[in-house]
């Protein structure tokens, strides 16, 4: 199939998370008393832990003495607190069948038709939406804060006027490696998301409160900031954490990345045994690897060229992947 004829093509994201704000509390009083977590600035002396060169071995004492003083941000619970609370909102939007920009009318029509066909399928968006729901319920968005928790509870409130409803999830029980055998309340939440993505409902507003019992005085991990500093100042901090008005926080992008970690359809899942975030090339940042290679025609662009122009894809899983990339949004026109 030929390349898509639109040189300008863009989609808005359909899952819109806010930044996540971090609070400290106790497991017993988690619903009544929470305190915003502040960042601490510490000075630490860098240590020498890298392997020394042969010529440096004799100078280890001198090296250790001259190790740089570094300033870093950190964040932790107080000795009274044993539980981290992370709060954010998530907006789910309909309208994936309409690109936000497209400069080819014929393509626009074939695309919209392909998406509408997908929406009418069963399970269609339900499979994708259930996975998003699972990633809210399992607390994947807590990232490193989820590791080694004694207990995790997630509360998801629907805020849409007239449909307010609250659900609790016990995250510890959920399997993070696949999306099989999801609990019924997750499927319930998934069907709300699917209704919106398929356009049966215009938008869905969710409020998520996550409680992770991580233990007294334990470190918590807000997002790290990427400072585009061009100076070589000595006062430069080596680690800057993210805060919202002085309260430790998680970037909305980081939360979004966790929610769309639903791709188990990529080549290599058998081996890796972990879902990866939806990405056109199946790229995984911390592995520096892209699982969906254009050579094997498993990347988004190869599949989208076919799908959007009315050709059938080999597997329904490929359609799931394509639709999930469109939900993520992006600029897909000009040659990448």
């Amino acid at each position: 199939m030929s390349k898509i004829p639109a040189s300008v093509l863009a989609f808005e994201k359909k899952l819109v998370p806010s930044d996540g704000i971090m609070y400290g509390t106790t497991w017993e009083n988690r619903n009544s008393q929470v305190t915003p977590l502040k960042l601490q600035e510490k000075s630490v002396r860098g240590t020498i832990s890298n392997r020394l060169k042969k010529s440096e071995e004799g100078k280890i004492d001198a090296k250790i003495e001259s190790a740089n003083l570094q300033t870093v941000d950190s964040c932790a619970l107080t000795p009274e607190q044993d539980t981290l609370k992370l709060s954010f909102t998530l907006k789910v939007l309909s309208g994936v069948e309409n690109p936000s920009a497209c400069n080819h009318e014929g393509f626009n029509q074939s695309y919209t038709q392909a998406v509408k066909q997908f929406m009418e399928k069963n399970p269609g968006f339900t499979e994708i939406a259930n996975r998003y729901a699972a990633n809210l319920a399992n607390g994947r968005f807590l990232w490193r804060n989820r590791v080694g928790c004694e207990d995790i509870e997630i509360r998801v409130n629907v805020l849409n006027e007239g449909n307010e409803r609250s659900r609790n999830f016990q995250s510890q029980d959920m399997d993070m490696r696949n999306f099989d055998n999801l609990p019924s309340n997750v499927i319930e939440l998934g069907s709300l998301i699917a209704d919106t993505l398929s356009g049966r409902n215009e938008f869905l507003l969710l409020e998520i409160d996550a409680f992770a019992k991580i233990g007294k005085s334990q470190d918590v991990y807000p997002s790290e900031e990427l400072v585009l500093d061009k100076s070589n100042s000595k006062e430069k901090k080596s680690k800057i954490l993210f805060d919202v008005d002085g309260v430790a926080a998680m970037h909305s992008q980081k939360i979004g990345n966790a929610i769309r970690t639903i791709d188990t359809w990529y080549p290599g899942y058998e081996e890796h045994q972990r879902p990866i975030a939806i990405d056109p090339y199946g790229a995984v940042t911390n592995l520096g690897r892209a699982y969906r290679q254009p050579k094997q025609k498993t990347d988004f662009f190869s599949l989208f060229d076919k799908f959007s122009q009315g050709e059938k894809l080999d597997a329904i899983e490929d359609e799931y992947f394509v639709m999930a990339v469109l939900v993520r949004g992006g600029v897909f026109g000009e040659k990448q």
Binding site: Q33, A101, K230, D245, G333
Partner: protein
């Protein structure tokens, strides 16, 4: 006559060439060969033939597309907007030179075209204006001016054939239709701004005065120190500024952004009050300027409407700052006032400030009349703090106090 700048340019090129070719172990014979080669190559006539043929690899432009996105392929525009004293920063209202992008191997051609000759005009300008001087120089045995001119002028061809998805394309309403605008960055302007900012910050006058002040025994003098605060740096092209444009490379790929921020206060350290909002949260330094203005107004009082309006303005200024503080405390969330720490805080203040009581605030029967209380406390606070700050209360009459209370009553929505 060969212009000295051109002469020096060719001589430098020759030396660079030889430096590259001749190493420590180069034989005398080879040295001679290279020197001959260099003499030939950088003889004016040959140089003109060679450089004019490479000129097409370069584009002069006022708005290089790569500033927006390093992979953007769009036309090379040369803007020609006219100057008007219309109060707008835009192309046409500042004199800047054109930027260049293109094959790095042809950048020596650019340097040649930009050489400033004895009369202060650049080579390119001479070529454009077809001066007698350049005509004579370019008409040689093997070259003629008009064909050289044609080749060199290719750097100024402004082709407008394509835009790019990488550029922001904006619909702007125009009567009943739209125009679609692909937004580019005028590199000449942004780096001219940087130059002026640096000239202002590091002026000789600033330096002279600062040094004088530092001295143990300064000389009598006077002058002005000028500063620009809260600048932000922005980078183009990351670690490879040369890929964006010549001007970008010359500036290390970094330009300055001026702050365009509202006077919003830093709220990082706002905490709920432990005893009373008026005592714990309304530190008078925050309102000092309002009190000073208020005092000035009282001194300057004439009983005309302007002054009365101004009195209202000042009081309202303060109230809106108070409102801002209230909002910040409410933003902290609900339930904080349940903690032991806030045991001494009056119940009506808890209703007023804790989001937990949001719905109660709307309920007349339960809200403990918090608005009336807030209003009267605030009036007392304003008058008390004014007196304390100014240490002169003779000017404040009873009617002023009544008036302040009256404004607060009118604007009590703000405290709700």
């Amino acid at each position: 006559m060969l212009d000295t700048a051109i002469k020096k340019y060719l001589e430098d090129k020759k030396q660079d060439f030889l430096k590259k070719k001749i190493k420590g172990n180069t034989s005398e014979e080879e040295k001679l060969k290279f020197t001959q080669e260099a003499n030939e190559k950088y003889q004016l006539e040959n140089w003109l033939i060679d450089s004019s043929s490479r000129a097409k690899q370069l584009s002069l432009t006022s708005h290089p597309a790569k500033f927006v996105h390093p992979n953007a392929k769009a036309s090379s525009i040369i803007a020609s907007n006219t100057h008007r004293p219309d109060g707008l920063l835009r192309s046409g209202n500042v004199v800047v030179e054109l930027d260049t992008f293109g094959n790095a191997a042809a950048l020596d051609v650019e340097k040649f075209l930009r050489l400033e000759l004895e009369d202060g005009r650049a080579v390119l300008q001479h070529i454009e204006e077809e001066t007698e001087f350049i005509k004579q120089l370019f008409d040689t045995e093997n070259t003629n001016f008009s064909s050289l001119r044609e080749s060199f002028m290719k750097v100024k061809v402004s082709d407008i054939e394509q835009t790019s998805e990488k550029l922001k394309q904006i619909y702007f309403p125009v009567a009943d239709d739209y125009h679609l605008l692909s937004v580019l960055i005028p590199s000449g302007l942004i780096y001219k701004l940087k130059e002026r900012i640096n000239a202002l910050r590091f002026s000789d006058e600033n330096k002279r005065l600062r040094e004088e002040i530092k001295k143990a025994s300064p000389e009598p003098t006077s002058g002005k120190i000028n500063e620009l605060f809260d600048l932000t740096s922005v980078g183009y092209g990351g670690t490879e500024p040369q890929n964006i444009s010549t001007l970008n490379n010359q500036n290390g790929g970094v330009s300055f952004l001026l702050p365009s921020l509202p006077p919003i206060l830093n709220k990082r350290n706002i905490q709920p009050p432990k005893k009373s909002f008026f005592v714990n949260c309304l530190w008078s330094g925050f309102f000092k300027e309002d009190f000073n203005d208020f005092h000035k107004m009282l001194i300057d009082r004439r009983n005309n409407i302007d002054i009365r309006d101004k009195r209202d303005d000042i009081v309202l200024n303060s109230i809106s700052k108070v409102k801002w503080l209230i909002n910040q405390i409410r933003d902290i969330g609900g339930n904080w006032s349940d903690s032991e720490t806030y045991a001494d805080l009056d119940h009506w203040e808890k209703i007023w400030l804790d989001e937990k009581y949001r719905s109660i605030r709307a309920d007349k029967h339960q809200n403990n009349d918090y608005i009336n209380k807030a209003q009267s406390y605030l009036a007392n606070w304003f008058i008390g703090s004014y007196k304390q700050t100014i240490k002169d209360n003779k000017l404040l009459g009873n009617d002023d106090i009544d008036h302040i209370k009256e404004i607060l009553k009118q604007e009590q929505e703000l405290l709700a």
